[in-house]
Every structure is written in structure tokens, then in C-alpha cells.
């Protein structure tokens, strides 16, 4: 009896793992391997027509493709603008709500609204607001605030076409980081702040010397998640500019998607995906190692 119990205990975990693992192997691991294989081929989508092994040609092409460079740069700009933008505004919002004696939950709900709204809805909404010449943003800039005298044709130039995408990236994300910061702020002992205040520390000093160091694991966590999110930008680009004008606002995922499903170049699309996967896995591995220390200190 004791032996059979032991045997059962040994077998049972695998039985619980089976359904989830099957999905994991079929729809996660297999596609990764298949994608790697495809990236070495001029992949044929015609049934009966064989794909041609071309070695590293897809990868070499990626390094010479000017649009890939543009897309990489745009992805980088998106990440470097929206990640600090979200974090700083979210921190300010969290500090603000934290200092409100009443109504915190109400404002938290309101600030979180853009987060729960789907990317499709907010992207189309932002595209509409930035329409030219008679969109609402232009109306505000020209008629209400008199910042500019002529409406901006947002989507006609690469420089301005990316702005709605950046604005959306920041606006939609503030609530998420804010909720996390707010919860962390509530975990800081009040006595600590009171003692510091009695010792004559100003609000500014208390923030830099007490609040921020205590929040640092939380801040690092949001940083990592937002960086990964930044490199995942796709739907907003696809729906707001479609990568235009002249592929100038393309990001890595939108260009990869276009290669595969517009130009039907599956091999090249797979190679671009693999390059991104390598980049992201390396980055998250480094972050995990870099992250470990502060988290342990905190927990």
C-alpha cells in the first residue's frame, strides 16, 4: 500500500501536466522550431512546389534591408519614449492619488479605463482624433490653444505620423503602472514618513531618499514589463498609420507581419521573427539576472 502510494505520487504530477503540456508543445515549441527551419528557406506557399534551402540568405537580406533598419529604429524610439513616459506620469499620478484623503478608488478606476479598453478601439479612436485637417487635436491646437496657426497633416509626414502612436502608447499605459505604484506606496509604513518629516526632510527629499528606494523593485518590475511591451508594439501601428507614409513608421512586428501576410514571403518573415526572438530572449535573460538582486532584497 505504501509503495503504491509512492508510485502514485510519482505518476500523478505528469497526469496533471499532460493537457497543458500538449498545448505547449504543439502551439509553442513546435512553431518555434518550425519558424527556425523556415527562416533558412525560400518558403513556398504553393502546394506541391518545394521550398528552397537558401542558408542564411534571409538573414543577410534582413541586415541589408533599409526598412528593417527603419523599423528597428522606430521600435527603439517607441520604447525609449513610451516606457519612461508611462513610468514618470504613472509615478506622478500614483503620488497624487496617494495623497488624496478621499476618492482614490474613483480616480484609480478612471485612470485605468484606457488600460482595459482593447488596442483596436483605442487605436481607431486615436486615429480619428488626429485626423487632418479637421480632427479634434488639430482643432484644439489651432482654435483653442493657438499653439499653431495651420492644422498639421499628421499622417502625411513620417515625423508627425509617429506622434499619435507614441501618444497612444503613453496614454493607454499610465493606469497600469499607476495601480502597481499605488499599491506599493500603500505598503510603505507611515511612521517612516512621519519620522523623516520630523527630522526636517522636505517632501522632495522624502521621495528621493525613502519612497523611491523602497519602490525600486516595483519600478524595476514595471520597467521590464514595459520594455517587453514596447518591443511588442504592433496593433497601434497597423491600425493608425499602417506603417505609412512610405513604410516610414513601420515597426519590427508590423514589417514582419507585412512580409508574411501581404507579400507572402514566409521565409523572410520567419527570419525577421527569429532575429527578434533572439534579441528579446537575450534581453530578458539579462534582465532576469540583473533583476534578481533587488527582488531578493525586497522580499
Amino acid at each position: 500500500m505504501a509503495l503504491s502510494l509512492k508510485m502514485r505520487k510519482r505518476l500523478v504530477p505528469y497526469l496533471f501536466l499532460v493537457p497543458g503540456l500538449l498545448f505547449f508543445l504543439i502551439f509553442q515549441i513546435y512553431p518555434l522550431a518550425k519558424g527556425l527551419q523556415m527562416s533558412f528557406y525560400r518558403w513556398s506557399i504553393m502546394p506541391g512546389k518545394a521550398s528552397l534551402f537558401i542558408g542564411l540568405a534571409n538573414y543577410l537580406r534582413a541586415f541589408e534591408d533599409p526598412v528593417v533598419g527603419r523599423a528597428f529604429l522606430n521600435t527603439l524610439i517607441y520604447t525609449l519614449v513610451t516606457v519612461p513616459g508611462q513610468m514618470i506620469l504613472a509615478m506622478l499620478a500614483a503620488l497624487l492619488l496617494h495623497s488624496l484623503p478621499r476618492g482614490r478608488a474613483f480616480f484609480r478606476t478612471v485612470y485605468y479605463l484606457p488600460v482595459i479598453t482593447s488596442w483596436v478601439i483605442v487605436s481607431l479612436l486615436i486615429r480619428y482624433l488626429f485626423q487632418s485637417p479637421n480632427g479634434l487635436i488639430n482643432y484644439f491646437l489651432v482654435e483653442v490653444f493657438h499653439v499653431i496657426s495651420q492644422p498639421i497633416m499628421w499622417y502625411e509626414q513620417a515625423r508627425t505620423a509617429f506622434i499619435p502612436i507614441l501618444v497612444l502608447g503613453i496614454w493607454k499605459g499610465i493606469g497600469w503602472s499607476m495601480v502597481i505604484y499605488l499599491a506599493a506606496l500603500q505598503g510603505i509604513p507611515k511612521e517612516l514618513m512621519e519620522v523623516a518629516a520630523i527630522d526636517g526632510a522636505s517632501g522632495w527629499q522624502r521621495f528621493w531618499r525613502i519612497t523611491l528606494p523602497l519602490l525600486s523593485p516595483t519600478v524595476v518590475f514595471t520597467l521590464v514589463m514595459l520594455l517587453i511591451g514596447g518591443f511588442n508594439v504592433f496593433i497601434s501601428v497597423y491600425l493608425i498609420t499602417g506603417g505609412g507614409p512610405r513604410q516610414q513608421t513601420e515597426v519590427l512586428l508590423s514589417y514582419t507581419y507585412r512580409q508574411a501576410f501581404d507579400f507572402l514571403d514566409f521565409g523572410y518573415g520567419a527570419a525577421l521573427s527569429m532575429l527578434m526572438a533572439v534579441f528579446l530572449i537575450t534581453a530578458s535573460y539579462l534582465q532576469m539576472r540583473f533583476l534578481r538582486k533587488p527582488v531578493e532584497v525586497y522580499g
Binding site: R8, P13, T109, I126, F266, E296
Partner: protein, 284 residues
């Protein structure tokens, strides 16, 4: 005493007033695009963009909502979305809980390596494998099928939820489990009668987030669904916008209809949102 207290109180009131003003200003920025969407949804037959824009419609009408709801198979899309989101959420939660149970409560060879592999793959965005997944689904004959969405949604969200639930399951007391074992209960009974009931809040959080994720999913559905009868709401809204590109009022009405279930879930189950978002964060 009194003399020195009065200006202090006044500055405190002023400070609070300023803080609330700032909070309201922030809220206005967050809500304004939605207000604008609602306002335009109530304007019927606005084919060109009005200039200057009007926030309050002069002749508000629910015509757009009626047209959106009754035209273009919209109710079918709503049903498709509900079927896909409910089915994939049910299996996601079930499979994640089962995996999390194995990882949290058992010692077995390969446990650490397997868990690490799942975490590593979790770092790879779903879109990275979208091309081979498309071919796979095509080979399985599941293009233009709701099952093609459901299977991939389950696979895509099981890893993350396994990770979240494992953390919760690990904290459950071992004594109860041992007592049940002594009473002759099997592991399935323990899973169903002890682990799941005790984890209700965590399961609720995972369920809500999975449901919303599946309800809103756009990219994969865009990739494998061409058949207009198999569209889900995000795809329907996207193509709606393509067809009625100048009738934004109609498009906005469709968006609001799609947004209503999300808002209801969000407002009714808000405490699970906060705990869900902070679960992974505050504790590292």
C-alpha cells in the same frame, strides 16, 4: 495658538484643492477620448467631420446603435466572440490550474527544467511564431474556424497563468492535504475539493484577465479569419471601419457595444483587478 493655526489650515485646504484639481485634470485627459467617442456615436448621419467639433450633439439619436447592432451580422460576431472567449478561458484556467498544481505541490524529475523552459518561452511574444502557427492551423484545417482561435488562445495564455497560479498554490497549507490523503482521498479529489476552492480569488483573477484578453484579441483572428461569418468583434469593428470609413458615428456605436461587457466586468469585479495586477509586482 489659534492665530498660528488658521493660516496653516487655509494652506492645507488650498493644497488639497490643488491636488483635486490636478486629479480631475488627469481624469479629464483619460476620459476625454471616450466621451468624444460616445458623443459621436449619438450623432446620426455625420458623414463629414464637423468643424468646429461639438461635444454635445444637437440632435442626439440612438440610430447608430440600432444600425450597428442590427446590420452586418453584428449579433453573430458578438456571439462568436462570446463563444471563443468563454471556451478558451474555461480551458485556459483548467489546464493552468492543473499544471500549477503539479509544479507547486509535487517533486518530480525535470520539474525545474520544465518550469524554466515555460518561463523562457513566455518571454517570446506570441507574434514571433505567428507564421508557423498559421501554417499549422491551415494544415489542421482550422482556418476560418473558431476552434483555430480557441486552441491557440488556450496555448498562448496557459503559460502565464500557470506561473501566476503556481505562486498561489505553493502558499496553501500542507496539513489539510495530508489529512485528506490519510482519509484515503486521491490527488484528483484534493485538487478539486481543496486546491481549487481555496484558490477561488486567484482563479477569479486569472479567469477575468484571460476572458478579457481573449475577448479583445485582434492579431491572430485577423490572420486566420477571412470568412465574414466567423469574425469576432475586434475583427468586425476593424472591417466595419473599413466599410463605413466615413461613418464614424456608426463605427463608434459598434465599439461601445463591444466595450460594454468589458466595462461591466471591470466595474463589478474591480477588487480582482487590483489584486491581479499587483500580485506579480509588489511581491517581486
Amino acid at each position: 495658538m489659534k492665530k498660528s493655526q488658521r493660516p496653516l489650515n487655509r494652506s492645507r485646504v488650498l493644497r488639497l484643492l490643488l491636488l483635486y484639481l490636478l486629479a480631475v485634470a488627469g481624469a479629464a485627459v483619460m476620459v476625454f477620448p471616450f466621451l468624444w467617442m460616445v458623443s459621436n456615436a449619438f450623432k446620426e448621419h455625420v458623414f463629414v467631420i464637423e468643424y468646429p467639433p461639438q461635444l454635445i450633439p444637437t440632435h442626439p439619436s440612438v440610430g447608430n446603435f440600432v444600425r450597428a447592432w442590427t446590420s452586418n451580422n453584428f449579433q453573430l460576431y458578438f456571439t462568436n466572440s462570446a463563444i471563443v472567449a468563454l471556451t478558451s478561458t474555461f480551458f485556459t484556467v483548467l489546464f493552468s490550474a492543473m499544471m500549477a498544481y503539479a509544479f507547486a505541490r509535487f517533486q518530480f524529475p525535470g520539474r525545474e527544467a520544465l518550469f524554466f523552459t515555460i518561463l523562457l518561452v513566455l518571454m517570446v511574444p506570441d507574434m514571433i511564431t505567428i507564421i508557423p502557427k498559421f501554417l499549422l492551423i491551415k494544415t489542421l484545417g482550422l482556418r476560418n474556424s473558431l476552434w483555430g482561435l480557441i486552441l491557440v488562445y488556450i496555448a498562448g495564455s496557459t503559460s502565464l497563468n500557470t506561473f501566476l497560479l503556481r505562486g498561489f498554490f505553493e502558499q496553501l497549507p500542507h496539513e489539510l492535504e495530508e489529512a485528506m490523503l490519510i482519509d484515503g482521498a486521491g490527488y484528483l479529489t484534493i485538487f478539486l475539493r481543496m486546491i481549487l476552492p481555496l484558490s477561488a480569488p486567484a482563479l477569479a483573477t486569472v479567469t477575468i484577465f484571460s476572458f478579457l484578453g481573449h475577448w479583445d484579441e485582434f492579431t491572430w483572428a485577423l490572420t486566420i479569419i477571412d470568412d465574414p461569418l466567423k469574425r469576432t468583434l475586434p475583427i468586425a469593428i476593424y472591417s466595419f471601419q473599413g466599410q463605413h470609413g466615413t461613418e464614424w458615428g456608426l463605427v463608434f456605436a459598434a465599439m461601445i457595444i463591444a466595450l460594454i461587457p468589458v466595462l461591466i466586468i471591470f466595474i463589478a469585479l474591480q477588487r480582482y483587478f487590483v489584486s491581479g495586477i499587483t500580485a506579480g509586482a509588489v511581491k517581486g
